[in-house]
């Protein structure tokens, strides 16, 4: 029996299972630094990392071309992949808690699409909005609208799907379909009006891609992903109680209004900034928390850190696959995650068929 030896002897807040995840993540990151059209050796990679981390005081010379490729191209891309994975998986886990439903995924319930609507409108209007043309404002323009769009949809869907204190999975998914359709049509309209170059960019973006990831996008994404990742674990016990219901969480002594607002805002920040920079990467928020629950149970004290790490691991793996499978061309990463995620989703629906009232 699963729980027999667990309670009492082992604290669910323990981090033992995170060790292997962290090790695998490090291994994959090193592998990623070595993989690419240009061949590099592990020793060289380590030397370049040492070189950069000591600001050039590392003994031994490094090749400038290799330095540029490993440090300026591969490194930020790996970091962005990990950040995106951690963000999507954690947002998925937390939204599932809030909606009390294991099938809530930022992509399925329309949060990502809301972000997409925000960012595509921002991209389309970039240039003729006053003050949006130059400097930091221009850089933050698209992410800002993506986050606003994601936030608005999350609140709207939450309101629509809650009937008498309960979230109905059918209403939730239908609201998601509606928002996804709206996003689809807006994206379609913008595509219709675009020239060839923009068309290609938008298409890549809707399929999800990390090929534009550089240090600049990493540093812009960092606070919008890092801060939520630091704050969300504070709500782990509240989210556990939320699984029983909002009223139950209140009776168990949690400030439900605060929890709801903070979790929605933080998840929308993470999903929005991800969408703005990397487009739509589906199913990470669904698959990762599910795997974590299968392995270590549904307790949020484990779920949040483990989802963040496993999400980082899986998106990094997917990106490595996406950029090596057909090298030197790239498969959009959203295609890879959806190819794995969609069948998994079907399997979950099949398994839960009897409990679902869709």
């Amino acid at each position: 029996m699963r729980g027999k030896q667990r309670p009492g002897t082992e604290r669910p807040g323990g981090f033992r299972e995170l060790g292997p995840l962290l090790g695998a993540l490090l291994f994959l990151a090193l592998l990623g630094l070595n993989l690419g059209p240009m061949e590099t050796r592990l020793g060289e990679v380590l030397q370049i990392i040492g070189h950069r981390l000591t600001f050039g005081h590392w003994p031994g010379a490094v090749d400038a071309a290799h330095l540029a490729i490993i440090w300026d191209i591969r490194m930020p891309r790996i970091l962005v992949a990990m950040a995106v994975g951690a963000a999507l998986a954690t947002a998925g886990a937390c939204l599932q808690g809030l909606f009390r439903n294991p099938l809530a995924d930022p992509g399925l319930i329309g949060v990502s699409s809301g972000g997409a609507i925000g960012s595509i409108l921002a991209i389309a209007t970039l240039g003729w909005l006053p003050g949006s043309g130059t400097g930091l404002l221009a850089v933050l323009h698209v992410p800002f609208w993506a986050m606003a769009g994601a936030m608005l949809t999350t609140f709207t869907v939450y309101r629509i799907a809650r009937i008498a204190g309960k979230t109905h999975i059918s209403t939730l998914l239908l609201a998601g379909i509606a928002v996804n359709a709206l996003a689809g049509s807006i994206v379609g309209a913008v595509l219709y009006l675009s020239d060839n170059d923009a068309l290609r960019r938008f298409t890549f973006w809707t399929l999800g891609s990390l090929h534009t990831a550089g240090w600049q996008s990493f540093f812009i994404m960092l606070p919008f992903i890092g801060i939520p990742l630091l704050i969300l674990p504070r709500f782990r016990t509240a989210l556990n109680a939320f699984l029983l219901g909002e009223a139950e969480a209140y009776h168990l002594g949690f400030n439900t209004q605060l929890t709801k607002r903070v979790v929605v805002v933080l998840c929308a920040l993470m999903v929005g900034v991800t969408v703005a920079f990397c487009g739509l990467i589906g199913f990470v928020g669904l698959v990762v928390p599910h795997l974590v629950r299968l392995l270590w149970g549904p307790d949020f004290r484990r779920l949040i850190p483990a989802s963040a790490l496993l999400g980082a691991l899986l998106v990094l793996a997917a990106d490595l696959l996406a950029r090596t499978i057909n090298a030197p061309a790239e498969v959009p990463i959203g295609v890879v995650t959806s190819l794995v995620g969609a069948p998994f989703f079907l399997y979950l629906i099949h398994r839960r068929k009897r409990q679902l009232s869709v």
Binding site: M1, P7, L243, G245, L252, G253, R293
Partner: protein
């Protein structure tokens, strides 16, 4: 003592509750009866702080309920909903431990496990603590949630007043476990807990309660001891059925049966 003062609730232009006033005293069991839609559950939700009344207020030890920090409230007040659902595969013990949330800082301590196991013992689920919650039957799930609220109010040694609200706690339960619920309610009352329950079965209410309130269209129409309520001719009018009181040999409890028309 928890007091509801002149509580009124209007939802969508409809008066759900009209100036209901009542006191819940530690050590006493109060049963709320009434026809469907009389406002029983709404009254419970307001008294427990879950809802705000349109007019009137709720006081705990003469302090307005909503001025008490939510976490502090969670330590002295628990609520068992008619139906609680949980779609995630927690173990039975983990669900009951959720009841300890308002007492925890950081993680569970041995005390919390003791309280949770004591609660499971009271509802007859001591052998099931490792089972997955989602695999349980409806009645077993209901008992797990009962254990959860028991664990929430568990504070041996501290005799401060505590409040337990039970909304139709015997739903889904077989006869023997219905009796378990009443036994648990009585033993809590002995530990200075004020128990307030909504119930449909008049005779069960007479059996368990010290005081009975009958709601009619949001108003408290009758209140008194089980004996007084059972003897009141008003009951027939409020519930809209002809009733007859019968004597049960060996029991001092009043018993009402439906009379043939």
């Amino acid at each position: 003592m928890l007091s509801g003062k002149q509580i009124s609730l209007t939802l969508g232009g409809r008066d759900i509750l009209r100036e209901a006033s009542l006191d819940l005293e530690p050590g006493r069991i109060t049963a709320i009866l009434g026809p469907n839609g009389a406002g029983k559950t709404s009254l419970l939700r307001i008294l427990s702080g879950e809802w705000h009344p349109t007019r009137g207020q709720v006081l705990i030890e003469d302090e307005p309920l909503h001025s008490i920090p939510i976490r502090r409230l969670g330590q002295v007040r628990a609520y068992l909903h008619q139906e609680s659902s949980l779609d995630f595969a927690f173990s039975v013990l983990e669900v009951v431990l959720l009841g300890r949330s308002p007492h925890m800082r950081g993680g569970e301590r041995p005390d919390d496990y003791t309280a949770a196991r004591r609660a499971l013992l009271q509802v007859d689920l001591q052998d099931r603590e490792g089972d997955s919650y989602t695999a349980l039957s409806g009645g077993e799930k209901q008992r797990v949630h009962l254990a959860r609220v028991l664990a929430q109010l568990d504070s041996p040694g501290h005799q401060e007043p505590r409040y337990l609200f039970l909304d139709e706690p015997t739903n889904n339960l077989d006869l023997s476990h219905q009796r378990t619920v009443f036994r648990v309610a009585r033993s809590l009352a002995r530990e200075r807990v004020a128990v307030c329950l909504v119930i449909h079965d008049l005779n069960q209410a007479f059996q368990v309660a010290d005081e009975v309130l009958v709601l009619e269209e949001g108003r408290i129409a009758l209140r008194g001891s089980p004996l007084a309520i059972a003897s009141s001719p008003e009951c027939e009018r409020i519930f809209g059925v002809p009733l007859m009181r019968v004597e049960v040999p060996g029991s001092s409890c009043p018993y009402l049966v439906l009379r043939d028309q």
